[in-house]
Amino acid sequence: MLDLYAVKTQIDDMVADERRVQEDFRAVLELALAEYRRWVPEWEILAQKIDKSRTSWLLPGLAEGLGGGSALPERPTEISIAATDGSQIFPDRHEVSSCFLINIGYILLHYGTGEKPLMNSKPTLYYREEEVFEEWGGRRIFINRELVGLKRGLMEFTELADLALAASAEGHRTLALSDGTLILWNLEGKPQDFKEAYLKATLAAMEGLRQARLPVAGYISQPGSQELINSLKLGLCPLEVADCDRCPYQAENQLGFSADEIGVLQGDLWCGHSLPCSPLEGLNDAVLLRQVLSPGQRTPLFRSSSKILNEYGPHRVYYFYLHVGAEIGRVEVPEWVAIDPELLALVHACLCDQAEKGEGYPVALSEAHERAVVRGADRDTFYRFLRDTFVKNDIQTSVSTKSFKKRYAGI
């Protein structure tokens, strides 16, 4: 039996704590805002510091400086938005077959013409031996969830590029929208040959778009990224040139300081924070920018400094934040879009429009998701169908010769 009285006191405590946290958070936000405003006129100084410093966190390249938002450009009346999304049924060793399935949803919405939109999905079943076993870095591995996820991500993007190109070929002025980041950071740490293969495919698709001058953008909803905050943190760093590896304020680096000194420093200078950059801890870019941007406005362009982008060539990713009304979203574009004002304005305008139509989230992306999604019930149906078909065709033996151990409940 639940002792509600006991719970009540704890709830009271929790509320008190929450209020304290919120008060603290407001203080941090005020600080960040003050810092941001401080740097707007002096952004070049900060930019130089960014260029010189070596931090443990990602810093943005201030491609357009800092400062207030750019106003919302007008969307062309006739524009088509291409979007894809994917979902999958992961391989299940306990099922009758270790196949897996990737379902890609395609959306091509034509605005301003009344033309019938394309809204479709296509599943692909992978079952051949060479499909379920891959050899990377000299090791042959049975495909796993991570690999399927990567494969799906790659497909989403290459299919998006194909869709946009096809639409363009049929005379539609098209913008390609990708769900999520364009930065394949998750390839880092993968075997070299694997990484190269995936990058190559992605960049080939990107190149196709670039040559057709078809803008592509990745939209990240509710971004948790803190690159801008990081730059402000850098601004807080008392050092001329920050080098986190050698941070003099880190306990393990306090070679030349006494414990007392550290105590004084911490207590007086940084208001009880452990490091000079600590006060902005826990804040992300979106929270800050909500105070800065008006609906429809975007931030200046930032250059991403992810390491993988070094291999992107002309497709290095830039990003900006966009106040779409309901939220601050992060929009990533390749360099050739970033430096093309017309394309950039198109991305800006279309994404705001899309988010408005989608009540906060770009409608093409949410429709793509609706097409792509494989729900639990679908998955169960898929396997039931698979089993039935196997049984009907009496091919259990041929499956067992593949030395897959199957354990499935008899039906």
Binding site: Y111, G114, E115, P117, L118, L163, L165, A166, A169, A364
Partner: protein
């Protein structure tokens, strides 16, 4: 407006790879294929068909014929447009349909118009039989509108009226009126026909004189 209304039948092009597989079927027959819908649910007594186009269902009370070996004849008693995804309900946008067609084209893809028909008989070698068919129409069969001549041929006798009157959970009288307005047109607004049908209804409705007179009045004007 014209641009909004015409749904272009796209020719196979670069985009065709992304189109639904059934799309080529429609291309193959083009607009010659003038079916009104396709059966998605079928039973001996009723059937549900998806209209070929959104809001393109036959009208209430219309006679339809299902192209199968023994064509099933029915009358439309319910038309409904709904979201194809159970967890997504249409919401109000405060825009005209034209504005929506231009700026929210996707919502029309998420809507389906379906119609329900009451099976009232079938054709046996072309001869109308006002008895439920031995086998229901097959799923995915095409549903056609009956031409006036077909309606006239089928309604040479009035036994189907009893079927309408005896079916529960349909708006019986309204359906009756709608059906009779169709058949009356098929019979060239013949007074003799109207009187004949009226008498049959009078027999079927027995004591319910108010109901009879209300139905007759509304059919005739």
């Amino acid at each position: 407006m014209a641009r909004v209304d015409t749904v272009k039948e796209s020719k196979p092009g670069p985009l065709s790879r992304f189109m639904p597989d059934k799309a080529p079927l429609r291309d193959e027959f083009g607009s010659e294929r003038d079916y009104a819908g396709e059966i998605v649910e079928s039973s001996t007594t009723e059937l549900i068909a998806e209209a070929r186009e959104l809001h393109g269902a036959p009208s209430f009370g219309q006679f339809i014929r299902v192209e199968v070996e023994m064509p099933v004849v029915g009358i439309v008693f319910n038309v409904f447009t709904h979201s194809i995804e159970p967890n997504r309900r249409p919401t109000a946008y405060g825009k005209t349909e034209e504005e929506l067609r231009l700026e929210q084209p996707q919502i029309f893809e998420l809507l389906r118009t379906e119609f329900q028909a009451l099976v009232i008989g079938y054709l046996d070698g072309g001869a109308p039989v006002q008895i439920l068919p031995p086998q229901p129409a097959r799923i995915h069969s095409f549903v056609h509108l009956c031409a006036d001549e077909e309606i006239q041929a089928f309604t040479r006798t009035d036994d189907y009226l009893r079927r309408i009157l005896n079916t529960a959970k349909i708006p019986t009288d309204e359906l009756l009126i709608a059906v009779l307005r169709h058949t009356l047109r098929a019979h060239a607004h013949s007074r003799t026909y109207l009187v004949r049908v009226g008498r049959e209804l009078s027999r079927l409705m027995g004591d319910d004189y108010d109901r009879l007179s209300s139905v007759i009045r509304r059919v005739a004007n």
